[in-house]
């Protein structure tokens, strides 16, 4: 029998990137907030520069809930299942994956909110790929801008603005949407390698710029500036320069005395009353079961767990899962078209042993609709990104570009000469939702509590494949302009479990095709909000976290401002 706890105003399920942000405006509005987090607090001393632990062993210092719930994947409903990875791409802790993410903190570009109408306007409706279920967002960049701004200040984003109140600054991204003010901090410093690549981009007539990151480029609100030690990539920050919610919005919310953080809380269902309104959340902490009553619930676990928890939370009012009477939970799923990349081999050492994935140079000339697609057979584009970051095991795993075998004396000679001469780009591209890409519950595979894990049925379609090829060619061109001896394009891959998982609880005005409304609240359950990239209907060509966080702030602020009508 579950222990029923004292009623809270709001329960947030998951204190990661989005739940950790949403807690702050709610607590500041004076609401009593309970944050349920499956993981624990991790201290700076837990965030060691240890490649084996960080990059290969699934963060054994954290609670292993996510690793026991890795989604299954098949490319389509009649294809065999892909091998199931041993490690979930996300992890459990206060702060969630913001503890070890790359922290690239982009705003989407204006086009990303209006893919359908802009494509129709510029190229005609037939240009939209067959089978896509993409819709325009119910809001534009200008409506989200104040929330981007607020989150950038709270978590501390470094960057070079390219468009402040319409004034274009070529040191930044000239394709950026209008901002009301510059970033709170200047961009992370460049390196010899990133400056070399910026010069090569300019020689092609492109517009390189340092990308934005939720990492301090200087001392900021009591946190150290970045120390560039080279273990940021899936490692945590031992000086708290990374703007994880664990060191920014969550402690700030705690200082209001309105946020209670409950760690090692494994949420098993969101429960409703006879009228179909959410009444609280059931969770386990060790062997004990608790019921946390609340006037409103914000679901903020991650795309896979958001969908899974909704589908597992069945009731008389919602027999197919909470907020799923229209059958939209799990639909419009997509993961970022970012696997296909380019490796390059240079004739000189690059000295990229240190730095971080966010210390880099971007090119947006081939992103979104920043170039004419009239003669091309796809829509969307890609952001090209090169950066200074390499650790020794991954260095030893570098491609040999067909110049050496994978082991033995010849390999050893190759790696000895070239370990610091290889580089791999990060290419993020527009990805669209399709009819037959979706999430549901796996019919066979279960977690240790006996609940089905999430199942992904999804693959890249023609638009994503053509776009990947086009963007890889641009990256090859860039590397060659910088003097690369050899380049190779890697395969596009498939849509297995990923850190960039979108959709499943999409946001939109039409309840027939969307789970949440323009404010992030369920069309079917007024006091249930959903946070995270699971509400996003398009990907853009850049990391999702800042957008998910801006939306989370907006949803939380809307809840506080309309408390009586939503929770009353």
């Amino acid at each position: 029998m579950a222990t029923e706890l004292r009623r809270a105003d709001v329960v947030i399920v998951g204190l990661g990137a989005t739940g950790g942000v949403a807690a702050l405006p709610l607590a500041q509005a004076g609401l009593d907030v309970v944050g349920l987090e499956a993981g624990t607090w991790l201290a700076p001393a837990d965030l060691s520069p240890d490649e084996l632990r960080n990059n290969f062993r699934g963060w054994p210092q954290s609670v292993q809930k996510a690793n026991r719930e890795v989604p299954t994947h098949r490319p389509n409903a009649s294809a065999p299942y892909s091998p199931r990875p041993a490690i979930h791409p996300m992890m459990n802790a206060v702060g969630g994956t913001t503890l070890h993410y790359w922290a690239q903190s982009w705003r989407l570009n204006p086009w990303d909110f209006k893919v359908v109408s802009e494509t129709r306007r510029r190229y005609g409706a037939s240009k939209l790929p067959k089978g896509t279920t993409v819709e325009d967002w119910p809001l534009g960049l200008e409506e989200l801008e104040p929330y981007y701004d607020r989150v950038e200040v709270e978590i501390g984003v470094s960057g070079q603005a390219g468009n402040v109140k319409g004034a274009i600054d070529p040191r930044g991204n000239i394709f950026e949407g209008r901002r009301t003010r510059p970033y709170p901090m200047p961009p992370l410093r460049g390196t010899g390698y990133t400056e070399m690549m910026a010069g090569a981009a300019r020689s092609l007539g492109w517009h390189p710029f340092p990308g934005p990151a939720a990492i301090t480029s200087s001392r900021y609100e009591g946190r150290s500036g970045c120390v560039y030690h080279g273990f940021c990539n899936r490692g945590g920050c031992h000086v708290s320069a990374k703007g994880s919610t664990a060191v920014t919005t969550i402690p700030k919310a705690q200082r209001t005395k309105r946020l209670t953080v409950v760690t090692e809380a494994h949420v098993t269902s969101i429960d409703v009353d006879a009228q179909g309104r959410v009444r609280g959340v059931s969770y386990r902490k060790g062997a004990e079961e608790f019921f946390q009553p609340a006037s409103a619930v914000l679901l903020a676990s991650y795309t896979y767990e958001n969908v899974r928890l909704l589908l597992l939370s069945t009731s008389k009012a919602f027999p197919k899962g909470l907020a799923n009477n229209h059958g939209q939970v799990g639909r419009h799923y997509f993961s970022h078209n970012q696997i296909a990349t380019v490796n390059a081999l240079f004739p000189r050492n690059l000295n990229t042993w240190y730095g971080l994935p966010a210390q880099g140079i971007a090119v947006d000339d081939w992103a979104d609709d920043n170039f004419d697609h009239g003669a091309l057979d796809f829509i969307g584009g890609g952001n090209l990104w090169v950066y200074s970051d390499r650790r020794p095991i991954v260095a030893a795993n570098m491609s040999t570009f067909g110049r050496a075998p994978r082991w033995g004396a010849q390999w050893k000679a190759f790696i000895r000469e070239n370990a610091d001469r290889g580089n791999t780009a990060y290419l993020q591209r527009t990805t669209l939702p399709y009819e037959d890409n979706y999430l549901d519950l796996d019919p066979e595979v279960k977690d240790p509590l006996g609940f089905p894990v999430c199942r992904i049925t999804a693959d890249y379609k023609e638009n994503e494949r053509r776009l990947a090829d086009f963007i890889q060619d641009k990256m090859v061109q860039w590397y060659r302009a910088a003097g690369a001896l050899a380049t190779e394009k890697t395969p596009v891959g498939t849509m297995g479990p990923t850190t960039h998982a979108y959709g499943g609880t999409r946001m939109g005005d039409n309840p027939e095709t969307n789970v949440v409304d323009r404010w992030g609240f369920s069309h079917e359950v007024a006091n249930l909000g959903v946070l995270g990239a699971s509400v996003m209907g398009t990907s853009g060509a850049r990391n999702p976290t800042l957008t998910a966080q801006a939306l989370a702030w907006r949803t939380a602020e809307h809840l506080a401002a309309n408390w009586k009508s939503i929770a009353g």
Partner: protein, 237 residues
């Protein structure tokens, strides 16, 4: 420790001092293995790297594993390889912890390598000459060696992956002894802070020869051996 400026904290000054001692110690150890003027391979023949007590594998399994990793990353004129890094020790130890799930695969796979060596070359793998050993391993890599459950290529890929971990991973885990793996590829080592100059194209950055857990900030929270293992360092975040 203070989050303000780790480079100037007392802890780091002490660590830097310890690092100096550690680096000198490593240099001495390297000199023992590779006397100046002697070819590395010759040195290796004269003075094989000391083996640690076995934790999970049998002596026969360990002998095969040692012989295999010595071919994957050989000791040669260019310097130390997986033998000196003690990659086999890393694997033996990890099979009792983070890689425990692969124990059965190792026992079966190493036995299959030996069986294939005897069948195709007439002697157990460790007793074959280098050319024959390489021929056997090539067949295992190409999935043409019989007797491997799930195919020999899968076992080879796992073995190579773990040999790289044991040669280039943090020495805390029992491999990369004396930082020979990091020195081989020119990795200048774990630092808690990096200067702008150290990121210049032509910077000459001296190796630290320190494990993450040689830094006092982390020495109190050494990882347990439990944990999962991915086949690849997943790209993208």
């Amino acid at each position: 420790m203070s989050a303000d400026d780790p480079a100037r904290s007392d802890g780091l000054s002490r660590r830097a001092l310890l690092g100096g001692v550690g680096a000198a110690g490593a240099l001495v150890a390297l000199t023992e293995v590779f006397p100046r003027g002697a070819g590395a391979a010759e040195a290796q023949t004269r003075r094989p790297a000391a083996r640690e007590p076995l934790e999970t594998l049998t002596q026969v399994e360990a002998d095969t594993l040692e012989a295999v990793v010595a071919r994957l990353i050989p000791t040669d004129a260019s310097g130390a390889g997986a033998t000196e890094a003690r990659a086999a020790h890393y694997i033996d130890r990890a099979l009792g912890g983070a890689l425990a799930g692969f124990g059965q695969a190792y026992r079966a796979g190493l036995a299959s390598i030996d069986a294939y060596a005897r069948g195709s070359k007439g002697a157990p793998f460790p007793q074959l000459g280098a050319a024959d050993q390489d021929a056997v391993l090539s067949d295992v890599e190409r999935n043409t060696a019989p007797g491997f459950e799930g195919g020999s290529a899968a076992f080879f890929a796992m073995l190579l992956n773990h040999t790289l971990q044991g040669t280039f991973g943090d020495p805390y885990y029992g491999g990369n002894r004396n930082f020979v793996g990091w020195d081989l590829i020119g990795y200048p080592g774990v630092r808690l802070a990096v200067t702008p100059e150290q990121q210049n194209l032509d910077a000459k950055v001296a190796p630290t020869h320190m494990s993450a857990y040689d830094y006092t900030m982390f020495s109190g929270r050494k990882p347990a051996r439990a944990g999962l293992d991915a086949k690849h360092d997943p790209h993208g975040d």
